[in-house]
Amino acid sequence: MIKQFLMNLLLAFIWVALTGALYYSNFLFGFLIGFAILWVMNRAEEDKRYFTRVPKTIYLIFYFLYEMIKANIQVAYDVITPKYFFKPGIVRYPMSARTDLEINLLSTVISLTPGTLILDISEDKKTLYIHVMYLKDKRSFIKQMKNGIERRLLEILR
């Protein structure tokens, strides 16, 4: 996993050195070419997790940006119109993330999505207390978080 990532970075740097243009777009292009080369060369290897993780990470970033902008528009609409549409509430959320890194990334992502804010984490690291702005139903909110952000994040990390 780490070895393949470092090899990919090395291939990207070689591409940048050969073309002689230090731009981000050129580096990204080299990274993609290196990814393709590694993918072709490691067809017979057993550990192919790296090649599913990179597309999933990119997909997660775009999914997160989409959710963030969508929810921001909703909050902005609520702020500038005179009537309040929100129903705030504090929800107890049992999380599947276990290690510190997983919890950290999960709570960062939840805090950055508009409408949800982490208030506290229990001492035994099993539940999050989330302040939600648009709480229609507690169960459907928990299900939506579990199937959306958390599942995608844990697929990459595990």
């Binding site: 509430g89 504090i90 960062t108 805090s111 508009p114 804010l117 208030l119 229990s122």
Partner: protein, 128 residues
């Protein structure tokens, strides 16, 4: 083409920050204010930094923009979490329209947080 993207990014960023500052005035309680401000300002500053990185083609501007964005994403949720926790522990009242408060009664005397509802307080409220 580049100009159009720049105009779009600057407009979205500025509008996000404007809505965040209107939100501080208009929201009815502290947690909603925090909730609105933190995200919208992160998004706004992110868009403005992206626009700045596009205007100046030098490498060091882009690296600085990426570094600022990275540290902003890293530190803003932590600050929001700490402010939210302190304000809840010190007993700032929730808005009267609040639907559900599952954090109520979960702290013990040393402000350690429990994760299950072993408290009678919680059970009584759930039955009612």
């Amino acid at each position: 083409m580049k100009d159009i993207i720049l105009i779009l990014f600057c407009t979205i960023g500025t509008l996000a920050i404007l809505f965040a500052s209107i939100g501080i005035l208009r929201m009815p309680d502290f947690f909603l204010r925090l909730s609105v401000t933190v995200k919208a300002s992160t998004l706004g500053v992110g868009f403005l930094l992206a626009a700045a990185a596009m205007v100046f083609p030098e490498v060091f501007v882009t690296t600085k923009a990426i570094a600022i964005g990275f540290f902003l994403l890293l530190t803003t949720p932590v600050a929001a979490h700490m402010i939210g926790r302190v304000s809840y522990v010190s007993g700032i009242a929730l808005w009267k329209g609040t639907q559900l408060d599952e954090l109520d009664g979960m702290y013990d005397e040393e402000h350690n947080l429990k994760s299950d509802h072993a408290t009678e307080n919680f059970k009584a409220r759930e039955n009612s």
